[in-house]
């Protein structure tokens, strides 16, 4: 009697496994069939680097007019709105005076040229970016593949911690819907919406198709873009042969934008 009850339970258990296992296995098989090799990869023309960087030869810029075409090229490419109200302003690349751009380096008595020359300021794509450390949603992050500090606008909740953290003022907040303030929309690039932070992206979308950043292209050689981690690159050659400075170097953020003064 004991024996047959045990046998009964055993049989019942085995048949339960047999009945339920097949649908599960079928589901697994179907899942594998559903995802035959789809792939995600880089485009064949994409430019690659470990850490993109930039050298700006400020000796080429005499007045604010020299910078205008560069700023315009960037802002047009990326649908950056031009808002008159300074407190709502959005900028990716802009003009700065020497003492504002390089507060630690501004001497009491500066030479005339440095005193009056315009300096281009943009996101420094730091090696150690404080903005990424404070972002609560990882909406801004340092991309491991090329060292660009990027924004994922989908994730940005508009808390503006990154704006407080950035020592360079490189970030702007969309206090209002930017679309009405974009004179000429570049249809192949998205705009932003109200409530997100934006900044320079080192033209990640242009690098992906083998183009140089828009500002570099518009600068006519005054700006050079390249891989800082490659000792053979043009940019490293420039850094070897010229004295350069970086913005607020003492903060330890390791900016990737160098200035020849």
């Amino acid at each position: 009697m004991e024996d047959s009850r045990r046998r009964f339970l055993m049989l019942a258990g085995i048949s339960a496994v047999g009945l339920t296992a097949k649908p599960v296995l079928d589901a697994f098989a179907a899942e594998q069939k559903q995802n035959p090799k789809i792939g995600l990869k880089k485009g064949k023309d994409a430019l690659t680097a470990k850490q993109w960087g930039m050298v700006i030869d400020t000796r080429n810029f005499e007045s604010a007019e020299d910078l205008e075409p560069i700023i315009e090229a960037c802002h047009k490419t990326h649908n950056v709105p031009s808002i008159e109200n300074k407190s709502h302003e959005v900028k990716w690349i802009w003009e700065e005076h020497f003492h504002n751009a390089f507060p630690g380096l501004a001497q009491k008595f500066l030479d005339d040229r440095t005193e009056h020359a315009p300096f281009l300021a943009l996101c420094n794509h730091c090696e150690n970016p404080p903005c990424c450390r404070v972002c609560p949603t990882k909406a801004t992050f340092k991309r491991e593949s090329d060292g660009i500090v990027l924004m994922d606008f989908h994730r940005c909740i508009g808390c503006r911690f990154c704006m407080a953290a950035c020592p360079y003022g490189s970030r702007s907040f969309n206090f209002r819907d930017p679309r009405p303030f974009i004179e000429e929309t570049n249809k192949s690039f998205p705009t932003r919406m109200k409530g997100v932070v934006e900044k320079c992206n080192f033209c990640a979308e242009r690098l992906a198709v083998g183009k140089q950043p828009a500002c570099v292209e518009a600068s006519g050689g005054a700006m050079v873009f390249g891989d800082l981690s490659d000792p053979e690159s043009e940019i490293r050659e420039l850094l070897r042969t010229n004295y350069t400075i970086r913005r607020k170097q003492s903060l330890g953020t390791e900016p990737s934008v160098y200035y020849i003064v």
């Binding site: 990869k41 990027l150 994922d152 249809k187």
Partner: protein
């Protein structure tokens, strides 16, 4: 127990009232929307989307999410589908290149399903200005 009739009548009225939306709308379900394809969508790539139509119907949001992640975070912008074809992963420049009729393609179904994706707050909804 003498109120039995009253209670039963009350329960019947209550159930009828609660079920009002169901019996009132019975048989009046809106028909599933018919999506319009542009001529470009019918002819480009032999009328095939990046993935089979059934997959796109059910999973386009997951696909777009994967695309977004890959493009923004991993710098990989080329999608290779099951038959080995390559596509630029871009909502505005690839999807809407064929489906340039957002109102008759995206919106019809989204309105029917009462979903309001905010893609178009940023992505340009008519990159080629056709229509």
């Amino acid at each position: 127990m003498s109120d039995k009739k009253l209670i039963i009548a009350g329960v019947v009225i209550f159930v009828a009232l609660i079920a009002f939306p169901f019996w009132f709308n019975l048989g009046k379900a809106a028909p599933a929307p018919e999506l319009a394809l542009t001529n470009h969508a019918k002819t480009a790539n032999e009328g095939k989307c990046v993935m089979p139509t059934d997959f796109m119907k059910a999973e386009h949001m997951q696909l777009l999410d994967t695309w977004r992640h890959s493009v923004v975070r991993n710098a990989k912008r080329t999608f290779v589908n099951t038959s080995g074809q390559e596509f630029n992963m871009s909502l505005s420049n690839t999807c809407l290149d064929c489906h340039s009729n957002k109102a008759d393609f995206c919106d019809r179904c989204h309105n029917y399903a009462s979903v309001r994706p905010y893609c178009w707050d940023c992505h340009i909804d008519n990159p080629k200005e056709t229509e």
